[in-house]
Amino acid sequence: MTAFRSLFFRELRITRKAHILAAAVTLFAALYFILAIFAIKSMKLSEFSSYEEMISYRSSLVLMSAVIMCFLPVITNVTDTSSLKSDINSGWLRYSYAMPIEPSVRAAVLVAMKLVFSISGMIFGIICTCFYCHFAETDFQSCYPVIYAVIFDISMLSSLYFDSIIFTARSAEELKKKTNITGLTLLAVIAVPSCILAKKVSGSAINVNNIISRLSKPVMLVWLIPLAAALSAADYFIIRKKLSVPYGSAKSNKRTKPEKKAVITDTHDYPTGFLYKELKQNRLNIILTAVLPLFMLILNYSMAFVMSLDGSEGDLKTLFMTGEAKIFYYLTTALGAYIASGLITSVFSGDDRKLWAYFTVSTPQSVKGFMYYKYVLCFALNGAYLVGCIFTNSIYDTVCYAVTGRESSDFSMILFMIFFLILFSCAIDVPLMVRYGQKKGSIINSSLMLTISIVIIVAFSFLPEKAQDRIFQLAINLRNGSAGEYSILILSISLLLILAGYALSYRISCKIFMKGVDGYDK
């Protein structure tokens, strides 16, 4: 028991940052839903076709909030690897095998941590749901506890797979690789059946009332709760087995093959110096950024395919023709842009080291040359992403016409806007990363962007309806190229300013480079 208490306290100390972050994200989600319910509540009855429709909207929002408020704390706790990462990096994991600590105690502590924080998060979620129901003036449905139990069980099931892989890692690189692989696999494995399940539960279309009525059976808790206990026990046994050996699988002990070195005899125009370093270091980034739009297109088609699984050809055509299909395509494009932005700025990862910084300054090209190639690479990656997007958009439009017989409208203006938005984001992100390092810089940037987004969204929701309509109409006109004379001028000047801002960002980064070096790791 003493060992259990000591290890539990140790785990709490190590993972406190991760738990604080998870709590902050959950709180932010709670606040977001309060605002959303407030916005829906302030809509008048005349804006809906009937009273039942108004209640249905509110119920849908409360149901969505219930799902997310349960999902967030559970999944962040269940898939948290910060403790294992810290143990591997500090060497404690290997050292601990020389200490009298049983793997059963270790496993018990890890499972207990998961259960404590997941259940705490779920209790907070249930309290929030009760509050939302009261605030939205809807009934607390009996399906909510069932949904919570289902989500918890699915998360624990995912955790079995997740833990069986990552707890075999015995080095930081191995852990990172295994985390990525399991994360992607889980995403694919959960996303597809979830869509099929949602469609089956609700019937021909995703209908909230159908979902609520089918899940409003508290008797399901009779087997869901024991299932949760059984899954927790299974997780304990898996972690115990994986932690019982000090070394991972035989594969992790294999020597990696030496990298093939290309012998370049003619170096006439081959890249050298910082350019060679950037291209070599970021070759995976370059490839991923260029093919990312294709992945998003495949994701889009996969979702369309899953949604049409009831086999009717008419459904496939409808899925390409409806507004929902277009909205989903736009959402995947936006998601791709977000991921691309992260990939582009990750060219700075690994360079926030004092040793490297001092070496850079000592070279003839110095900081200016180093930053120049970084900025050029970011611009080129952004360009590669744009080209990828236009190519995949051309595939999408061709397929759309082939299936529906209707010509799609030109989407390239939106893609150009995304290009400039990513450029703008880089122009702000890069100086922050140079000054504060990649981690801190990203946090500062994310906080800044989040704050600005929330302020804009809240301000927008408080605008009168006429003003909101005018803004939407202006965006539509800009997209269609039929905006007023000054709108086009303002748009073009904004784009020019973004380009100028990118160049200015380069100069700022050069100036503040040495200031940031003092804060870097050794």
């Binding site: 125009d269 050029v376 360009g383 051309s394 061709t398 150009f416 000047i493 784009l495 020019l496």
Partner: protein, 290 residues
């Protein structure tokens, strides 16, 4: 040091693939879908990539087949010290369009300046021109497929065989003839003009000769194909909108013919000839140094 025979062989292999990889799909698409359907609408946009990137693919295949390597691929930006050439690539088409449209107003508009500045309001003009200048260069990936082939390979090989002027003339004719499969279907000039399609192909060759001077100059000055791709993109995507401000006196019954186009573009041809002169001057200077 490779000899002329090898260079000629490589050039012929490149030309074979450049035409085959572009013309075969173009012929199939024109027969199956119709030129207007696949090229001028947004129904089959992916098909453009098959045709437009023929020369670029030919470059890659030729280098692989002849084991030439990539040392002179001109794929590097060479931005440092060459920013003025990149800016020239963005602005030159707009600047050249101004005297062309002034000439059009004088010759075919009856020198009637009463409509001057009335097509666009000042804000519209400024906004449209700026928007084109900022966004059209991003479409350089469309023209990269051609420039990586013509300027990135063909011109380099040809210049060693027939010199700069020969490259510009012969290269321009080849480039113009490469467009023939589309010109025949109505690309740029339609199908109801006198002398169709031979006059259209001929005019295309003439235009390509002169434009080739500008694009080759940009490529040689920077050692990179991107400025040429940007200038080509400006040409294809509204770079000449700046000149339309100077259009006046052109009635609704104005019929655009190839002859008129030839006259209107005289200033552009003259400007392009200056670039040829600059290339020849630089070549003489380099020869004198050695």
């Amino acid at each position: 040091m490779t000899n002329k025979k090898t260079e000629l062989k490589r050039l012929l292999i490149f030309l074979f693939f450049a035409f085959a990889l572009s013309w075969i799909p173009a012929v199939i698409f024109n027969r199956v879908f119709g030129y207007h359907e696949w090229f001028e609408t947004n129904k089959y946009p992916v098909l453009f990539w098959c045709v437009g990137y023929g020369p670029a693919l030919a470059n890659v295949i030729t280098r692989k087949l002849t084991h030439e390597g990539w040392h002179d691929s001109m794929l590097r930006l060479h931005l440092r010290g060459n920013v003025r050439y990149y800016v020239t690539a963005v602005l030159i088409v707009s600047l050249m369009s101004i005297p062309c449209n002034i000439l059009q107003t004088i010759v075919y508009g009856g020198n009637d300046w009463s409509d001057f500045g009335k097509i666009f309001t000042p804000a519209e003009a400024a906004g449209t021109i700026l928007l084109v200048l900022v966004t059209a260069p991003l479409l350089a990936f469309n023209t990269f497929g051609e420039e990586f082939g013509w300027r990135g390979y063909m011109n380099q090989k040809m210049e060693k065989l027939i010199g700069t002027t020969g490259t510009v003339v012969v290269g321009g004719i080849i480039w113009g003839v490469w467009h023939a499969e589309l010109t025949v279907e109505g690309h740029n000039f339609g199908t109801d003009y006198k002398g169709y399609p031979y006059l259209g192909i001929l005019y295309m060759c003439v235009s390509c000769i002169f434009l080739g001077m500008l694009l080759m100059w940009l490529t040689k000055k920077t050692g990179s194909i991107y400025p040429a791709a940007i200038a080509h993109a400006m040409l294809n995507n509204g770079g000449s909108v700046a000149g339309t401000i100077f259009l006046s006196g052109i009635g609704t019954d104005y019929e655009d013919t190839i002859g008129k186009e030839l006259v209107i573009n005289i200033p552009m041809f003259a400007a392009c000839t200056v670039f040829l002169a600059l290339m020849l001057r630089d070549k003489r200077k380099a020869a004198n140094k050695t």
